[in-house]
Every structure is written in C-alpha cells, then in structure tokens.
Amino acid sequence: MEIDEGLVRKIAELARLELTEEEVHEIAPQLRRIFEHVDRIQQLEVGDADPATQDPIDLDALRADDAGETLDPDSVLRNAPAHDDGFFVVPRFFDEEVED
C-alpha cells in the first residue's frame, strides 16, 4: 500500500481534519514509514485467533436501567463555545453539500 499525499488528503477528509498543504507534505512520508513497519502484521501467524479479545460482557455486571442523577445543564453549557436557551449553537448547515 503506497501512502501518497492524495491518500493522506482523503484520510484527512474522512477524519474531518483540514490539513494545510505543508502538513500533508510532512505527514505523507511519516505515515509511509510507520505503515512499512506496521505492515508486518500481514505476515503474522495468528492461527484461528478471534479478533474479539474482550471477554463477553457479563450481563449481571450491567446496572439496572434506572434513571439516575444527571449533570446540571448549566455546568455543561458553560463549556460550550456558543449556546442559547439550553441549546448548542452551530453555523447553518442545511444548504451544505455533505460528502460521505
């Protein structure tokens, strides 16, 4: 897998990171080198190992579905870059083209 600047731009878009051209230029060779190392996993003998490493969740460990205390809305909204009347405020987005 050749990691070039085009691929870095594409991944950055998926990750919602607007990288500068300078950053793309710097990161592409770094990722190439990292993946040259990481690609060793392709050669590993893993036999029939299951990709799900965690033990299955013990259902008894889950709490009862009771409503508990919740955070005080003011203490949460205080951290918001913009809020109004109990809502987070964001720029308009209905007329945006969204690529996925």
Partner: protein, 498 residues
C-alpha cells in the same frame, strides 16, 4: 526542618499514620503547604505541573484535619499530597490533556479514581503535564511545553505521564496518578527512577479519564516505593457503576514481601535487548537482577512468546484506531476550542480540529482512520485484533509456567530532549517493552533497577497474570530488599528545598 527528615519524604504509610494520630503535631495542612512550597521552588526547572490547585488542596487538608480533630479516621491517604495527570478530571479544575483543543474546559464532575483518593484523605495539589491526550513517550508532545528529567534537565522524563513521574521523582508530591495505554505510567517511571504500575484492565475505573484507546487505557499509581504505590492503588481500585469494564478482582490490600525462594521467574526471549543500540546498561542491570533472584532461591524459567516481537505493529493499529474514534468528539460544538474562521458546519469541524490538535495526535487520528476505513479494516484492524488475541493467549500460557515475568522497561535510559521528536517511528519504538501488557490486559509494574554510569535511572518490569497486583507488590518489596535498588532523590540544580 534542618537536620530532620522533611515529613514529605516519609513513606506514605508513616506520613498518613502521623496525620491520623491526633497526638502527633503533623497535619494535612502542613504537608500540603510543604508540597506547594517545593513545587514553587523546584518546578520552574522541571515543568512537571500544568497548574497547581492550592485552594482545593488547602480545603481538602482542612477537611482531613477537622476529621482527625473530631476523632474520625480520614483514611489511609490522610493528608498525602497528590498530583493528578491532566487527562484525569478533577471536578471544577480546568482539564487540558495538554491539548489546545480543550480550550478552557472545566469538567462538571470528577474521575472516580480521584474521588476515591480524596475520600481516602489525599489532597490534590496540582495537575501534571503529559503528552497531548497521552500520545507520546517523552512529554514533548504537550501543547504547553515539555517536562524535564529531574536527574538530567537536558533529558526527557519519559511519557506520557512525564509530569507525574517528574513530580514524584523530584519529591514535590509523594504520590501521583498516571494513565497507561501503552506504557505511559511505566516508561516515565523507569526513566525517572520511581515505581509505577499499570493495573489489570478493569481494576481501576476509567470514569473521568479522558479516553485515548478505551480497551487499553488504565489509571494507576506512581510513587517512590512499591509500598507507597500499593496504598494508592488500594484506595482507587474497585468496580464502578460508571465504568462497565471494571471487574471484580482480588483486592490489593496489606503489605509485605514475598518469599523469593521457589518463585518461578519467567525470562521471555523476545524481551532481550541484546544487540539493541544503547541497550547495554539495561541488559547489564537485568543480568544483575536475574542473578540476585537466583541467589535468593528463585527458579529461572526460559520462555518464548513470539508475538511479543510484533506488539508495536499490533499496538500502533489498535490504539490509533480507537483514538480516531474517541477523538471524534472534539469538534468545536459542545466544549473546547472552536475556530473563529468557519462559515459552515463541516468547515467548522475540520478547521477546529486542525487548529486544536498537535502533530502527533493528528498522525494517530490519520493512522486510525486509515486502519478502519472501507477496504483496509480487514487487513489492518481485524488482523491486529486477531493478533492481539493470540498475544494474550501467549501470556496466559506463559503464566502456566512461571509466577512473574521480569524484563527491562525501556530499551535505553532517558534520551535527550529533541532527540526523537522529528522521528515518530523512533518514538514509537520506545514502547517496545511495554505495549504488550496493555494488549493482553495484564498488570505490570516498573521498579527501580539501579543507575547508569551517568547516574540515569534504569527500570525493570514485573509482569503478572490478570488480578495478581498484590503478588507483584510483594515481589517488588522482596526484590528491593535483596538488590538494594530503590528510589534515590535527585539533586536538582535550580531552586532550593522547602
């Protein structure tokens, strides 16, 4: 205090016992003031703390002292000053993760681990520096500047819990909380000459720890001795309704040294540093330790876990994959930094994230996003997870043949500031001896194993099967008695002692 031991330098059990004793003049308030004075005197040279919390610490100390006055027992950490890594939330105290993206975020609630430490009498004196979001091995990835190694100010303290390590090593606090996703407690503990433990996954609640890689992250104690670390872990351990991954494990209690005679000590071939550049002092120290163990009657068991050799590639898929997902929440909408330069929502997300995250965090988000993307997830993420399962089984089989595995913690002693900062892969390879334990979910602690000729600390790791922390502490205490290796206070050039 001339000529007397400063109470801040006492073993934690003794420090707390004196505070708990109404007839002893030592108070929590005195300990807190001493700690704050030391931070003021020493920390300008080290930058272990991102902020101190004097008002909070003084209030917590007043509560402890009042409880003693009232004949109550404030707990096993009574009056003990505590540093908290700044990716662990303390209610009402700004939380940065050493990142610009959190802006002026103030957590509305605190971490379970922090609350439990405070309930046991600890007093929080400050938040310690780290690599941004825990991503790094030198604390140079902090958006607020690096921390320096107390044994050599030109060198790194390790990372990502480098602030907590330096704070404890320099004697500014006797105890600190760190977090460990791939070695972030043990590697800085090793480079800074102290004790640090990554507990079994699920022993300590992650509630209030800012998520990096949720299946690997664990909060743990950093201290000058195994006995001190044991007391802190004892206070913070246990299941928590707020973290469904906490498990009911045999409790860490008590104290004492293990009988080394007859103990089966595993030596894993793949942990050997023979031939690794700069690894000679670590190999020499490990040789000495194994010899001392054999002389004490322990049995040496040669083992091989071939997948250990691949733990870095496995880890650098799994951890960034989880990080890319966890860090999606920083989008400039609900908290933290928001770009001032966006007209529309998609641009707001992308610009906010570009402005707020540092270079290493961006790299890991990109690695993880790629490893999880359509067409590549099977080749990378699923394959890495299968290898992780196999690695975990490898350790389970190893612990059928031995009680404890002993290895070095780092491939080299503390490196110079700036030495690896432009070479991400070289920095990742610092974690070569630590990441396997997070992948396997097992407890591992770093303990001092001597010093290099230049006076730099050397650390070693004690590995045990899930739930075996109490035994690891027992072995660590016995080893310290046998080898004489222990924390040694550094001489810090700038500033005086409080």
């Amino acid at each position: 205090m001339e000529g007397l031991t400063n109470p801040l330098d006492l073993p934690v059990a003794e420090m707390a016992a004196r505070v708990r004793n109404i007839d002893d003049p030592l108070t929590a308030s005195e300990l807190v003031e001493t700690s704050l004075l030391r931070i003021e005197a020493i920390d300008p040279a080290l930058h272990a703390f991102l902020r101190t919390t004097p008002e909070l610490a003084r209030e917590q100390a007043r509560v402890v002292d009042a409880r003693v006055e009232a004949g109550e027992d404030p707990g096993p950490l009574a009056g003990v000053p505590l540093g908290v890594k700044d990716n662990i939330a303390v209610e009402g105290v700004p939380l940065t993760c050493a990142s610009k993206i959190l802006g002026n975020y103030v957590p509305p609630t605190g971490a379970t681990s922090v609350r439990r430490a405070v309930d046991a009498g600890a007093c929080i004196v400050g938040k310690t520096n780290l690599d941004e979001f825990g991503m790094g091995s030198s604390t140079e990835n902090s958006a607020f500047g690096p921390t320096r190694n107390p044994y050599d100010l030109e060198r790194v303290p390790g990372g990502s819990s480098g602030g907590s390590a330096a704070a404890v090593a320099a004697g500014m606090v006797p105890l600190a909380l760190g977090s460990d996703t791939g070695g972030s407690i043990r590697q800085p503990a090793a480079l800074s000459g102290i004790v640090g433990m990554k507990p079994t996954y699920g022993r300590v609640s992650r509630n209030g720890l800012v998520a990096f890689a949720s299946s690997l992250d664990q909060v743990g104690p950093m201290a000058r001795s195994a006995a001190d670390a044991r007391i802190l872990l004892g206070a913070i351990q246990g299941t928590d309704p707020a973290d469904a991954t906490t498990r009911d494990l045999p409790a860490v209690t008590g104290s004492g040294a293990a009988e080394l005679a007859g103990l089966r000590i595993g030596r894993v071939e793949e942990f050997s540093l023979a031939g690794v550049a700069g690894g000679e002092p670590m190999e020499a120290a490990m040789g000495d330790v194994h010899k001392a163990l054999e002389e004490a009657g322990a049995e040496s068991v040669e083992l091989s876990i071939p997948l250990v050799k691949s733990s870095i590639p496995i880890y650098y898929i799994v951890a960034p994959a989880e990080a890319s997902s966890n860090l999606a929440r920083y989008d400039g909408v609900r908290y933290g930094h928001r770009t001032s330069d966006a007209g529309a929502l998609q641009a707001l997300y992308a610009k906010t994230r570009d402005e707020g995250f540092g270079a290493e965090v961006k790299r890991r988000i990109l690695i993880g996003t790629f490893a999880l993307s359509a067409g590549y997830a099977d080749a990378y993420y699923k394959r890495a997870m299968a290898a992780r399962s196999a690695l975990r089984r490898g350790f389970e089989r190893a612990f059928e043949r031995c009680d404890v595995i002993v290895s070095a913690t780092t491939p080299t002693p503390a490196f110079l500031l700036g030495e690896k900062v432009d070479d991400p892969l070289a920095m990742y390879l610092c974690d070569i001896l630590t990441v396997a334990s997070n992948l396997a979910g097992i407890p591992v602690m770093n303990v001092p194993a001597g010093q290099t000729e230049d006076g730099l600390p050397v650390g070693m790791q004690l590995w045990g099967p899930a739930g075996s922390e109490a035994r690891l502490f027992d072995v660590a205490e016995a080893l310290a008695e046998t080898t004489g290796h222990a924390y040694r206070a550094p001489v810090i050039p700038a500033g005086g002692d409080a």
